[in-house]
């Protein structure tokens, strides 16, 4: 069993240690993935609007803790006060009014060539999501990742940046304090280094990888996934057959790389 490492989180302005957090190990990450996957059904026992209402109530709880959260964002993120106010504002308002997003996932009739509507498009939760967020948004991105998955009925494991995990830990604790329904289908992973991402890539229980990182990190993740898939290939029938289900990847790639647009893109 891997030794538990204590992470020291520093105030980025003064260098002083403002908190220590026990880091996860490969064993604890695997356990969390298993538990969250097992508890996903709790989310589907509620409908979209019930989950939206709970996120709205959570937004209120966050607003009452705004001063504390703001100080944490500034200190551990090394971010300006106005920026941290903005970050908190967008996530609080986003959660307060999140029922607005129903228009994107409500059932829609599919219109045929001759105008007939014989089928309906239904949106269903895809499954457990592993989310990775960057150090310049200690709360908005990791909490959006968690909230968005919760809203649509996916379980979620969120890995905030180990440079600034305290704000997200505080937000998650607030959910625990209010006995947030379905919380067993959500969890945090605090893990330095790349090995946690490898655990996410290896796990068959994780269906979605959602990252907001630099372009280089995103490319590195997809290359590592490709290598992992290759190792699982079965060539016994004379044709390369991949034996693991494909994951869905949502990348936001921040960086100065030029975009490449394939010539068959619509």
């Amino acid at each position: 069993m891997a030794k538990v490492q204590e992470l020291e989180i520093k105030n980025k302005y003064t260098g002083e240690v403002i908190g220590t957090v026990p880091a996860d190990t490969p064993e604890t990450v695997k356990e969390k993935i298993k538990n969250v996957h097992k508890n996903q059904h709790l989310l589907r026992e509620m409908d979209f609007f019930e989950r939206a209402q709970l996120l709205s109530k959570f937004a209120t709880k966050l607003r009452f803790k705004k001063a504390k959260l703001k100080d944490l964002v500034v200190a551990e993120g090394g971010l300006p006060i106005k920026y941290s106010e903005w970050e908190l504002g967008i996530v609080m308002n986003g959660f307060k009014f999140c029922d607005w997003y129903y228009q994107f996932i409500e059932d829609k009739p599919l219109t045929g060539i001759e105008g007939e509507q014989n089928a309906i498009i239904k949106y269903i939760p895809h499954g457990l999501s592993a989310c990775i967020s960057p150090r310049n948004t200690p709360i908005s991105l990791p909490l959006y990742q968690m909230g968005a998955n919760y809203l649509v009925g996916n379980g979620a494991i969120v890995k905030p940046s180990t440079a600034c995990p305290l704000t997200m830990i505080e937000a998650y604790s607030t959910m625990k304090e209010m006995e947030f329904q379905g919380l067993e289908a959500l969890d945090l992973v605090i893990a330095p280094g790349e090995w946690a991402v490898d655990e996410f890539l290896k796990s068959n229980l994780i269906k979605i990888i959602m990252t907001v990182t630099s372009s280089h990190t995103a490319k590195d993740i997809i290359v590592r996934y490709g290598r992992m898939l290759k190792k699982t290939a079965d060539k016994s029938m004379g044709v390369t057959m991949y034996t693991q289900p494909f994951k869905q990847f949502f990348f936001e790639c921040a960086g100065n790389d030029a975009g490449i647009v394939m010539n068959d893109v619509n």
């Binding site: 504002g89 308002n93 986003g94 009014f97 029922d99 607005w100």
Partner: protein, 159 residues
């Protein structure tokens, strides 16, 4: 274009449970223009809570509703039938709000109670009973801005 002046009416004043609710309704009746942006038929609750715990338990000490009618507003004790939303206010917030001298001072203070809620100094919150898009279409987004609760650049306007 000159806007018609709105009128306000407080109905069944004796039925309010608390003096504070009576004071607040009298105060609000001075500023019906706060409700100008709501469509006719909008009806929402003002609920007074003494603590955050009673708010969590949905147990107000008093409640009244404001109806936007053709000529202005009508304030009545009790919850609205099919209320659009509930505006929850702490007792400490309402005590300070009724002391304000102008519409501007009132809206600024209300905004502070929303932006910087404090269990001792005062807080407000709201709970939507209808879909966000419906609430926006009824004029509550602009109402919230006029009332000092939401600012120009808040997300609700970008929706």
């Amino acid at each position: 274009m000159v806007k018609d002046e709105l009128t306000s009416q407080v109905i069944c004043r004796e039925a309010f449970k608390t003096e504070l609710a009576k004071k607040y309704t009298t105060f609000l009746a001075q500023y019906p223009e706060i409700f100008t942006d709501l469509i006719i038929g909008s009806n929402f609750d003002f609920a007074l809570y003494d603590t955050v715990e009673t708010y969590d338990k949905e147990s107000p000490i008093d409640i009244f509703n404001v109806l936007r009618n053709g000529s202005g507003i009508e304030i009545k004790p009790g919850r609205a039938v099919d209320s659009d939303l509930e505006l929850a206010l702490s007792v400490s917030a309402v005590k300070k709000l009724v002391q304000t001298k102008t519409h501007l001072e009132y809206t600024q203070l209300l905004g502070t109670f929303y932006d910087e809620p404090d269990e001792e100094k005062g807080w407000i919150d709201f709970v939507l009973n209808k879909r966000t898009q419906t609430i926006i279409d009824m004029g509550y987004g602009k109402f919230a801005q006029t009332a000092g609760i939401l600012k120009d650049d808040d997300d609700i306007y970008r929706m």
